[in-house]
């Protein structure tokens, strides 16, 4: 095989509970700001999306109406990424731009579900009753706002990204694999430029129910991710993050400036029935990553749920010189979006020549005074899937 091509991150689009765009996020992280809501879904804690005017990236109201919140968040963030890369509206490039989206599904119409459910149980109805109610009560277009691949579909329609389009599913791991495949395709010459990312709406009772089934939700009071010894859990967060990744030669040919280099992405599926499997998997991934410096920086999407967070801590304990940052504290758990978020913040930090400050009362996160040259981005899913990426400064 030919020598792998170098891949640059040339565009970053981000909206979250902390605001929109790179400057807003840089300022918020440096101010150690956290936007968390303990009341709206009490006892469940969530990080709500900061106010956004969707018109700025999704000008047609008709398009906005055809989308559910997660699709709007993602389509908006994708637009920011295209702007940031300087390719917005460039039909020649967008027409051949590849896209890998990591997605879950859209929100259900919970009031409709509850009305049907209550009526069904109260009247001890036959299953045929469901036919009647679903036929009458479901909005026909709701289906399209829920389909996983329709985030990519909306990005194609609104922004014109129309090369290949793949939607990966499977919670946290979906976006780690999205980054891995995007990088592999660029390194091998199968793609010149790829839009990769995810979106998550954390303000959804249907998701709270799903995660409550196995007691994953953080309840009652907010604590930073590393300080949830007394009550473990994740606080769902809303965010959309997209990155434009392209080959160095493609970026240079169009005069694009890079934020950072994406050098490697490695993934695993540890068999978690064995205690310690995640710690062992992360050690293996670390060694596969290409020898990152032990006194470097690491941004993790640590969830705060157990036992995986303790296993992550055990891994980090073996690399004591590393300046660690957990995005879960500032952003909550944004599921598929957590890994692209880590990549975005790594690229942003490298481009600004500094790692943002710690936000952790336990002391696990330490100050980093020198400019980072390498940042490892780590993800271990709340129930399965592990991965790491190496993001490096371009001098």
């Amino acid at each position: 095989m030919n020598k792998p091509k170098e891949a640059w991150i040339t565009g970053i689009g981000i909206i979250s509970s902390l605001g929109e765009g790179l400057d807003a996020h840089w300022d918020a992280l440096n101010a150690r700001r956290i936007n968390v809501d303990e009341k709206r879904f009490a006892p469940y804690v969530v990080h709500p999306l900061a106010p956004v005017s969707f018109d700025a990236q999704i000008p047609k109201k008709g398009d906005q109406r055809q989308m559910e919140a997660w699709q709007r968040i993602g389509t908006y963030a994708a637009g920011l990424a295209l702007d940031s890369a300087g390719v917005k509206g460039n039909q020649e490039i967008l027409g051949r731009m590849d896209m890998i989206v990591a997605a879950g599904g859209g929100e259900r119409d919970v009031p409709v579900d509850l009305a049907i459910l209550n009526a069904y149980i109260k009247s001890n109805a036959s299953p045929a009753f469901l036919n009647e109610r679903l036929m009458n009560d479901l909005r026909p277009t709701l289906f399209l706002t829920q389909l996983s691949n329709l985030l990519a579909g909306n990005i194609a329609i609104v922004h014109g990204v129309s090369g290949t389009s793949r939607t990966f599913m499977g919670e946290e791991a979906a976006s780690i694999d999205a980054a891995r495949i995007a990088l592999a395709r660029i390194q091998s010459g199968q793609s010149d430029i790829t839009l990769v990312g995810a979106a998550h709406n954390g303000e959804r009772t249907d998701l709270l129910i799903l995660y409550e089934f196995d007691d994953f939700n953080l309840k009652d009071t907010f604590d930073p991710v590393w300080a949830r010894n007394k009550h473990s859990g994740f606080a769902l967060g809303s965010a959309g993050v997209f990155l434009v990744i392209e080959s160095r030669e493609h970026a240079e040919a169009r005069g694009a400036k890079p934020y950072a280099r994406l050098s490697n992405v490695v993934t695993d599926l540890a068999q978690r029935k064995q205690p310690g499997a995640v710690t062992k998997s992360l050690e293996t991934l670390w060694s596969k990553l290409g020898m990152p410096k032990d006194n470097g920086a690491l941004i993790t999407g640590a969830t705060g749920v157990e036992p995986v967070t303790s296993e992550e801590k055990a891994f980090l304990g073996g690399h004591p010189g590393c300046a660690v940052r957990a995005t879960g504290t500032s952003f909550g758990h944004t599921m598929e979006t957590q890994f692209p978020l880590g990549l975005a913040l790594a690229a942003l930090s490298l481009s600004r020549g500094a790692l943002f400050p710690p936000n952790d009362p336990t002391g696990l996160e330490v100050e980093m005074t020198k400019p980072p040259t390498q940042i490892v981005v780590m993800g271990a899913g709340h129930w399965q899937g592990e991965g790491m990426a190496l993001v490096e400064a371009i001098k």
Binding site: M135, L138, F143, L147, S162, Y211, Q271
Partner: protein, 425 residues
């Protein structure tokens, strides 16, 4: 001996094992016999009540059941069956130790009504609200439902059971998912990352709400009686697709690795093409450009011309829009040959297996190459003069077939085409 690389210098990707489950039955032998006999697997739904529904038939796989019943559970079981068949044929690796990654095409996942009802009943009071449901959801009573309704659950199960390597990829590109999964496997082998990939596409999600959702989009045929005649691809009186279930598994290997271990070579994935339609969420661009571009890309990827394609395994859903646009696209690329080349739709017999369709139909295309016989498009009684395809009407046909194009076009503008050949070109 043929060089192990194609004309572009990439490793040649071959198929060494295949497994299939459809409403017609489990396994290649049974399916092929029925497909070439023009038999339909579509029947009136018995899995749930059909009272008040506009469409009452489907291609459900009723001979496989799971307990407790759920669409995700059935989806997983169908994948198991197809994969066991494919691995037995291929003889690759060892039991529970597949030497490569998994690419899985699977439907998006949601908690289903039977579970909602169970949780709702557990609330134990009338007129409950969402907070009441949340209150009783935790504590471990329903813990298995978290795992069952995670999007990564089927892939996690398959990866563990068959011992695939690395992080398994679950993907959805709507009706093109099966083709996309094959494409990802081909790309991984061409990159030299692996000598083998396990490609699985599965869909067991004919449940009340799914059928109703497609029905509310006016996508389904309502010609319920007789159900076997409902799916009428390319006919003038076609009125929608018939929702169906199935699974297909392909073992992909580099030609070099397959030859080295003396594996059966069932065919070659010579080319893949993909192009997104940015026109509309459910409709194709009226100029057909994305379909045309997709088909051309697959030919270019294979380094082949239209003259070398002997047969098209059509997307052929039997919706008024799809079949028309498929003709527009194919005729723009194939010119006058579009009227001569045999174009058949497996969906006339097995319905639309949605997430599985691209792989199920690729497998049928490879069986077509193996047996040199083209399955028919059944229910073709009233031709549509706007679609002058040779649809291999109603009766299978013996033919010399060296290369097949298999098309998949889906909601969200997903277009994918594969070119499959008997021998390396």
């Amino acid at each position: 001996m043929t060089a192990p690389r194609d004309k572009f210098g990439r490793p040649i990707v071959v198929v060494t094992g295949m497994g299939i489950v459809t409403s017609l039955g489990a396994g290649k032998t049974d399916n092929w016999k029925k497909l070439t006999a023009g038999e339909s697997g579509i029947r009136t739904v018995t899995r749930f009540p059909i009272d008040g529904l506009k469409s009452t038939m489907a291609g459900t796989v009723d001979f496989v059941t799971v307990e407790p019943s759920s669409s995700t559970g059935l989806t997983e079981r169908l994948a198991d069956l197809a994969t066991e068949e494919a691995l037995a044929q291929s003889g690759i690796g060892r039991k529970g130790d597949f030497p490569g990654p998994l690419f899985l095409a699977v439907a998006p996942v949601e908690v289903e009504w039977s579970q909602r009802i169970e949780v709702g009943r557990a609330v134990g009071k009338p007129d409950f609200d969402v907070n009441d449901v949340l209150k009783i959801s935790g504590g471990g009573k329903f813990a298995p439902y978290h795992h069952r309704f995670m999007f990564g659950s089927v892939a996690g199960h398959l990866a563990e059971k068959f011992g695939t390597k690395g992080s398994p990829i679950s993907l959805s590109t709507a009706c093109a998912s099966g083709a996309t999964a094959i494409q990802l496997g081909v790309e991984a082998i061409r990159r030299g990352e692996t000598d083998a990939a396990l490609v699985v596409a599965t869909d067991g999600s004919v449940n009340q709400e799914n059928l109703i959702r497609f029905s509310l989009l006016s996508a389904l045929s309502t010609q319920n009686d007789p159900p076997q005649a409902a799916s009428k691809p390319f006919s003038k009186n076609r009125d929608g697709f018939v929702i169906a279930e199935g699974a297909g598994t392909l073992v992909l290997e580099s030609y070099e690795a397959a030859v080295a271990r003396g594996a059966p070579i069932l065919g070659v994935v010579a080319g893949c093409g993909e192009l997104t339609d940015s026109f509309h969420r459910t409709r194709s661009s009226p100029d057909g450009k994305p379909i045309i571009g997709c088909v051309r890309k697959s030919l270019a990827d294979a380094g082949m011309t239209t003259e070398q394609i002997d047969h098209i395994n059509a997307h052929g859903t039997a919706t008024p829009e799809n079949d028309k646009m498929e003709y527009v696209g194919i005729s723009a690329v194939f010119g006058e040959r579009a009227k001569q080349i045999p174009v058949s739709s497996n969906k006339s017999m097995i319905g639309h297996t949605i997430s599985a369709a691209g792989a199920v139909e690729a497998i049928i295309s490879l069986l077509t190459l193996e047996h040199q016989r083209i399955p028919p498009t059944i229910n073709y009684e009233i031709p549509d003069p706007a679609i002058p395809f040779d649809v291999v009407p109603n009766v299978a046909r013996d033919a010399r077939v060296t290369a097949v194009m298999s098309n998949s076009f889906g909601f969200g503008g997903q277009n994918a085409s594969l070119i499959l050949t008997r021998e390396p070109i």
